[in-house]
Amino acid sequence: MIQPRIRILAAALAGLALLAGCSKSGSDDSAKPADTIKVGEFASLTGKEATFGQSSHKGTELAIEELNAAGGLLGKKIEFVYEDNRSTPGESATIAKKLITRDRIVALLGEVASGRSLEAAPIAQASQIPMISPSSTNPKVTETGDYIFRVCFIDPFQGRLLAQFAKKTLKAGKVAVFSDVSAPYSVGLAQFFRESFLADGGQIVSEQKYTGGDKDFKAQLTAIKSTNPDAIMVPGYYTDVGLIVAQARQLGIKVSLFGGDGWEAPELMQIAGAAALEGTYYSTHFSPESTEPLAQKFVADYKAKYNGEVPDAMAALGYDSVMVLADAIKRAGSTAGPKVRDALAATKDFPGATGATTLDAKRDATKPAVIITVKDGKFQYVETIAP
């Protein structure tokens, strides 16, 4: 019995030695002057929010491909290094560390979920590597430090516009809020909505909470139903929202449910069912129905590359995050962290797929939002709300 065990142990040790050898030669390689510009990305390519990660990743990839086809940056090709965090907490910081120290990336792109952007941001900040989040909307993300940027609007704006929307379009005086306590995005958006809605003279009749990944929401929804709200705000991510909307309809809740950009995924339709989603609304960054020429070009290019798939807001923002970075590197004439940072901070009216991007003193973008509804089993554009 002992003999084979020793053999296994020896094999394992040999394997470890091999691994150690690999990583050593890897770091030797990256120490040489690079003939490519390495851009890193961490994304939720699998797991709970995989649709977000995949869309954003596809947009990012398309942008890098287009830039390389046009000759790259500063005479060098862009090399794209990315890793999957499986939509779980605790992975993004490790990935950011690995991309920065081992792969020697010049800039970091990611994530959609604010919670995971917040994990990676301190590491990028400490290493003086500029980080651009394509679509994390929680204000805390860029508050981490002066190397952290984003190309999307932030939740105080989204919360305010949802409050206006509830008041004006839905004519709702009494709203119930049902938020995910495990996601900073959801907690933040609920808070900003509450502040604006109360200031507008609205009334919040019930505040219920859930934990992302829960499957049974009937107890909370029953409690919400008993307070007779005019509408229910659910600032969550699509996998949970899908179940919430379906269970709300099962319990006979007929009022409108609405939320933020966390809803934007085709899976929402599959999980909740088109009938349950009828008359629900969400705000987001981009509509493929936009008539702006750059947006049109992006939609056409995206469709050509990905077999006719229509891009969503996450894809458009992923695309814009690369374009804004490339523009800054060009203007800086260098890939040194501090220089790229300064150039990024000076970004003004950069034309992209989601409209003109201007990064303000807090390194956030100010952009219009669009409202989407589900009507006759399809996602449909309702209106654009300017900041």
């Binding site: 219920q208 934990t211 829960d214 107890a219 029953t222």
Partner: protein, 297 residues
């Protein structure tokens, strides 16, 4: 009043699902004195088997639903037998700790294999049985899927009791549980009986998986973990090894969780469920119905 009744229904429906999963846990424990931690992952495989089987069955008819349910139960029964043969049988006679750790290993294997084979993204589970909502004037709503869970749980509960108490194989299971050596001396084929026990337990897990997914139609390879743990709590609560205890434990746990959420403590939902486990272990280690030894399988 309506709200109270609705919450009662919510709690009982949730509890019935826990009870259904707990049945399999408790039966395997009753016979083998072994907690099969891979049970919750067989539950997951059951849901995925249903997901793929439903593609060949016409949607939302009673016959198709029964076909998918039975097909998935058969697949998982086979899986249970294979797992027992490959992972647990070579360790029989070793300490219970060895078997327990192996069970955790099998659980991790199934989870990660599931992520590889089925993909890590949540999938939406199709509608298997025709759905209907019974609306009452007071605003009370009962879904047909909730009633289905009750009916299936009760049917399986009584069939299981019948198998264990009234059939030859059931007698063999009880003999084995009482004393394996003596059982084999009087002509019980222990290997066959243990295989059968695992087949039965895994089929119950599959039924739980299908019904869970019908109620909460988003499935992923890690979906088994939390309901599995809750069902384990339910089994211990009712008295592990006791079939009726699993049902009682499940219902109590479902009601406790719903009460906690209804009172506004939704963030403490899981914490309370596990606090119940600790309390029961401290105050009544044999569980609520654990005293009556004769009822044990």
């Amino acid at each position: 009043m309506t709200e109270l009744l609705q919450q009662l229904i919510n709690g009982l429906a949730l509890g019935a699902i826990y009870a259904l999963i707990a049945l399999g846990y408790t039966m395997v424990y009753g016979v083998l004195r072994f907690i099969n931690f891979a049970h919750s992952d067989i539950f997951m495989v059951g849901a995925f088997a249903g997901y793929y089987l439903s593609r060949v069955a016409p949607q939302a008819s009673v016959t198709a639903g029964v076909f998918v349910l039975l097909g998935s139960m058969a697949i998982c029964a086979l899986l249970g037998v294979i797992i027992e043969k490959l992972a647990y049988r070579p360790l029989r006679g070793r300490s219970t700790l060895t078997a327990l750790i192996t069970a955790i290993g099998v659980s991790l294997l199934l989870q990660n294999l599931g992520q590889r084979v089925f993909g890590a993204n949540p999938k939406s589970f199709p509608v298997l049985f025709p759905q209907h909502y019974f609306q009452f004037d007071s605003g009370l709503v009962i879904a047909s899927t909730q009633i289905l869970v009750f009916v299936v749980t009760i049917v399986l509960l009584f069939s299981l009791r019948h198998i264990v108490l009234k059939t030859r194989i059931g007698t063999a299971m009880r003999a084995l549980s009482f004393n394996p050596t003596a059982a084999s001396l009087v002509g019980v084929n222990n290997d066959r009986v243990i295989s059968f026990t695992f087949a039965l337990g895994s089929a119950l897990a599959a039924a739980g998986g299908i019904l869970y997914a019908s109620n909460y139609p988003s499935i992923d390879p890690l979906m088994g973990t939390l309901p599995g743990l809750k069902a384990f709590v339910a089994a211990v609560l009712g008295g592990i090894g006791n079939i009726a205890g699993a049902a009682v434990g499940g219902l109590v746990l479902g009601l406790v969780e719903t009460t906690v959420v209804a009172l506004g403590g939704s963030t403490y939902r899981d914490a309370v469920a596990f606090a119940v486990l600790i309390l029961i272990l401290l105050l009544r280690p044999n569980g609520l119905l654990g005293k009556r030894q004769a009822e044990k399988v």
